[in-house]
């Protein structure tokens, strides 16, 4: 590297300092002027990127991905630090305070439908907290195409989404790492139907069947812990403390898949495996188009109740949509009479893509709600029906200002900061008790509509309440412990996915099955495009070239993952030119087999307008 023609700035600085020390030319004012002019040009500083990620206990892969990526960035001359941060705190820093340069984590969005990209990347969400555009990404072309795909159909919609994916692959608001395989250990015999269910949806658990008797008796004799072997209890062991501490479906820093809050709270409909949305809490709905915008009349099932016995009515549904679009229910804008009063509304940080589809919702009678949508197609609009429905009589008062010890934290409301324990939902399971950080117990809700006369044609093969009466969730600290709990008969399923490193242990354990399914939530290196030099798409593009997805999948994921070039990979919405064949089609790795080609990386950064000083990447202040 020593034979580069351009003298590093530090050498020039040294010479200058040397001449100053000699005191040879300091005598004149003209010289001072020249010195000031010259030093203005000398001001460079090293480019540093801090990567925040989850500790190994909380996530089997994230930290190792971050370490590998940090190594590649360092090889290219960046100053990189990797900081493990506890999950709740990481998501608070990344999603709510935007206090990060880069993070390694997973995008939780369920992206089967391309509209999932809308909240993730539209610049209008750049300043909102939560999983909507945490990157602060702004690209007018992407914005336009995201809006277009909401109103277009057929080939035009596919083309709009393909354009979005191509722009994202080039400008890298995040570098995709891989879609992981979700690995789980399940106990044989007690319950059936583990294979092929969707563990990231409450419907997956609701569609479990009773296990065959012989098998469950065999399990009972094989373990000495008879009382906890009660067949009426589904015992899940998880490595994430958060669901035992907070059950607020709106809290972005506490929710991951929302399976447990999904058991507690129903939605009007559920996304079906085949695409489209199927009725759940709703009996039926009818869409019509008024002034070019969809409008839906949703009829609720008869005799719905909340867990506290109050009836569930259309007013609850209307309140839910009002609260999702403004958690203060207009408090922050009350009294102001300006044209921009809506700007002050604070939207709930989850379900934002879906709540942004809804213009307003109105209860027509106790069982009918009319939902008016913004400009979009009925197919896209139906996604808005999958948000959890909240009880008016509990949540309306939570629109008041959030306060801690009497001090108001103005902008937000109690709805976002409450831990919502105990929760009042309408779902098939009701809260029984919790020990924060340790345990959560849910009990079957026998007044649920699934109990009496379960309707036919429910999504995901659900045909009534499941065979268990209780869901008992225990928290442990590591994947190994979670798997050993299932192996020893103390748990039925690892409720959170475990790392590939535990597969041998699962394989060795008798009566334990390995379930592997592909997750729709990819690992990414997310960049904060609000901070220089990450503001620069060319800089991010070069970083994208420094992530060797193949090496990560082989070394970190032990092959249990899939590299991809688009967050929609796995759907039929990916254009052929964005398929990940042997390498990333847009930002292929600079180097091979996990070794960076340093010269190629330096050339790319110089091309992007950066310089090197003694091997360190520097930028002008």
């Amino acid at each position: 590297m020593g034979d580069r023609p351009d003298a590093p700035p530090s050498n020039r600085r040294r010479k200058l300092l040397g001449s100053l020390a000699a005191g040879a030319t300091l005598g004149t004012a003209g010289c001072m002027r020249r010195l000031r002019a010259a030093t203005g040009w000398e001001s460079v500083s090293p480019v540093s990127v801090g990567i925040k990620t989850l500790p190994a206990d909380a996530d089997p892969y994230a930290l190792r991905v971050a370490q590998s990526v940090a190594g590649w960035f360092r090889a290219a001359g960046l100053e990189v630090s990797v900081t493990p941060v506890a999950p709740e705190e990481l998501y608070r820093q990344v999603l709510i305070r935007n206090d990060f340069d880069a993070f390694v984590g997973r995008i939780p969005a369920r992206l089967r439908d391309g509209d999932g990209l809308y909240p993730l990347l539209h610049s209008r969400f750049g300043s909102e907290p939560g999983w909507q555009n945490p990157f602060g990404y702004a690209n007018l072309d992407v914005d336009d195409r995201l809006v277009e795909q909401r109103t277009a159909t057929g080939e035009a919609r596919r083309e709009a989404l393909a354009a979005v994916q191509r722009s994202v692959a080039r400008t890298q608001p995040f570098s995709l790492v891989a879609f992981p395989d979700e690995i789980r250990a399940v106990r044989d015999g007690r319950f059936d139907g583990w294979h092929g269910i969707d563990f990231e949806s409450p419907l997956g658990y609701l569609s479990l069947d009773e296990g065959s008797r012989e098998a469950s008796r065999a399990t009972a004799t094989a373990t000495a812990t008879a009382p906890s072997d009660d067949p009426a209890t589904l015992r899940a062991v998880i490595t994430d403390r958060r669901p035992t501490e907070n059950l607020n479906p709106l809290a972005a820093e506490f929710r991951w898949t929302g399976v447990l809050t999904g058991l507690l709270y129903d939605s009007l409909g559920y996304e079906a495996e085949t695409g489209g949305v199927e009725p759940w809490l709703a009996d039926t709905w009818e869409f019509e188009t008024v002034d070019g915008r969809p409008r839906a009349r949703v009829r609720l099932r008869d005799g719905l109740t909340w867990h506290d016995g109050e009836p569930l009515t259309a007013a609850d549904v209307a309140l839910t949509y009002a609260l999702l679009s403004d958690v203060t229910l207009g408090r922050t804008t009350a009294g102001t009479d300006t044209a921009t009063e809506d700007d002050a509304a604070v939207a709930a940080p989850r379900f934002r893509g879906r709540s942004s589809l809804v213009a307003d919702a109105e209860a027509l009678d106790s069982r009918t709600v009319e939902i008016r949508f913004t400009e979009c197609t009925a197919g896209v609009a139906a996604r808005a029906l999958t948000v959890p429905v909240l009880p008016d009589h509990v949540w309306r008062e939570r629109a008041s200002p959030a306060s801690v010890g009497g001090v108001d934290f103005g902008a937000t409301s109690e709805a976002l900061v409450t831990n919502n324990v105990p929760p009042v939902g309408s779902g098939p399971f009701a809260f029984e008790r919790n020990v924060p950080g340790d345990r959560l117990v849910l009990e079957r809700f026998d007044d649920h509509f699934l109990a009496a006369d379960p309707p036919a044609d429910l999504p995901a093969d659900v045909d009534g309440l499941p065979p268990f009466e209780r869901v008992d969730v225990t928290v442990v600290g590591t994947d190994e412990t979670a798997v050993s709990m299932v192996a020893s008969g103390d748990a039925d399923v690892t409720g959170t996915a475990v790392g590939a490193g535990t597969i041998p242990r699962i394989g060795r354990s008798e009566g334990v099955d390995l379930v592997v399914g592909r997750s729709p939530s990819p690992y990414v290196v997310g960049y904060n495009a609000r901070r220089p030099p990450l503001t620069n798409p060319r800089f991010r593009n070069t970083l994208g070239h420094l992530v060797d997805q193949r090496a990560l999948v082989d070394d970190v994921f032990d092959g249990y993952g899939w590299p991809a070039a688009s967050p929609l990979a796995g759907t039929d919405l990916v254009p052929p030119d964005l398929r990940f064949e042997d390498e990333h089609p847009v930002t292929p790795f600079f180097g091979s087999n996990g070794a960076v080609d340093v010269d190629a990386a330096r050339d790319a950064f110089r091309e992007a307008g950066y310089e090197y000083d003694d091997g360190a990447l520097v930028e002008r202040d």
Partner: protein, 293 residues
């Protein structure tokens, strides 16, 4: 449940070690007339025991709050420690063999529980109440200062920072152990190592009162050394945590000795057996005086 099983295993193991210890360390002569001495000593140390119980109770309550508080006001020093010592723990682990893993796992869980509880029992049975009081005060100081550090510093252990180089050998070897250690420790509380500080505390007190049970001193020293190494070998602590833990132990024992010194000899410089050196001694004098007032 899994936790109950682990607890029962550890309790059974520790009780067995206690019986062995009573026979081998205290001996038949030492046990003669022991019940009477235990009663007398218990009365004498009741206030100190109360202090320890209070500190432990506060510790138990504040630790959860402390973790939250720590994320608010604490400094995340994980990266600094990693930069300071680099791959030392990974090097320690490169020497791993299955028998060593079994040994260090057992020492970390069983040996530690035994090392902390046995001297309390043994010293209660001896003639003077000073050893047991010293020990209990030192325990309380360990927990109190440890808690302060845990609030001020956020730090993850090596298995959570460099998982590609450092295995969490304990949990891979014996996953259920995590049910127990997870109760006792949060994974952000690694600086300093309380396993090390409390073990070294026992060893230092054992050395200071080596005339009481001569056979206990080498056992305590060997166990304390093994436990300090095990925290690194198992990938739970950094070497930095271990060094800081040993320093904390020195402070705690110095305070313990000062607080329990008979009134007449309080201002005397510490004798040769005392672990604290000059600087620590002067500083701890003031702490001890303050505690005594």
């Amino acid at each position: 449940m899994g936790l109950a099983t682990v607890l029962a295993q550890v309790a059974a193991g520790v009780v067995a070690l206690h019986l062995l210890g009573l026979v081998a360390v205290v001996g038949r002569d030492g046990l003669a007339g022991a019940p009477g001495r235990v009663r007398a000593n218990l009365r004498a140390v009741a206030p100190t025991l109360g202090l320890l119980v209070v500190v432990l109770a506060v510790n138990g309550v504040v630790r959860d709050v402390g973790v939250e508080l720590s994320w608010l006001i604490g400094v995340n020093i994980t990266g600094a420690i990693h930069a300071l010592e680099g791959g030392f723990v990974a090097w320690v682990q490169s020497l791993a063999t299955p028998p060593l893993t079994t040994y260090f796992s057992a020492v970390y869980v069983f040996g530690y529980a035994f090392l902390l509880t046995f001297p309390v029992v043994a010293y209660l049975a001896c003639r003077s109440d000073r050893p047991v009081r010293t020990l209990l005060v030192a325990y309380a100081v360990n927990y109190a200062l440890g808690l302060v550090c845990y609030v001020l510093f956020v730090s993850y252990g090596p298995r959570n920072v460099t998982p590609e180089a450092v295995d969490s050998l304990l949990y891979a070897h014996w996953p259920q152990a995590q049910l127990l250690t997870g109760r006792v420790n949060r994974n952000t509380n690694v600086f300093p190592s309380l396993h090390t500080s409390l073990s070294v505390t026992v060893a230092l007190v054992a050395y200071r009162y080596r005339e009481v049970y001569p056979r206990w001193t080498p056992v305590a020293a060997a166990l304390a050394g093994s436990i300090a190494v095990s925290t690194m070998y198992l990938g739970i602590h950094w070497a930095t945590d271990v060094v800081a833990g040993a320093a904390l132990a020195a402070v705690a024992v110095a305070v313990g000795l000062r607080v329990t010194a008979p009134a007449g000899e309080s201002a005397d410089p510490v004798d040769g057996a005392d672990p604290a050196d000059g600087a620590t001694g002067r500083w701890t004098d003031r702490v001890a005086d303050w505690i005594r007032e």
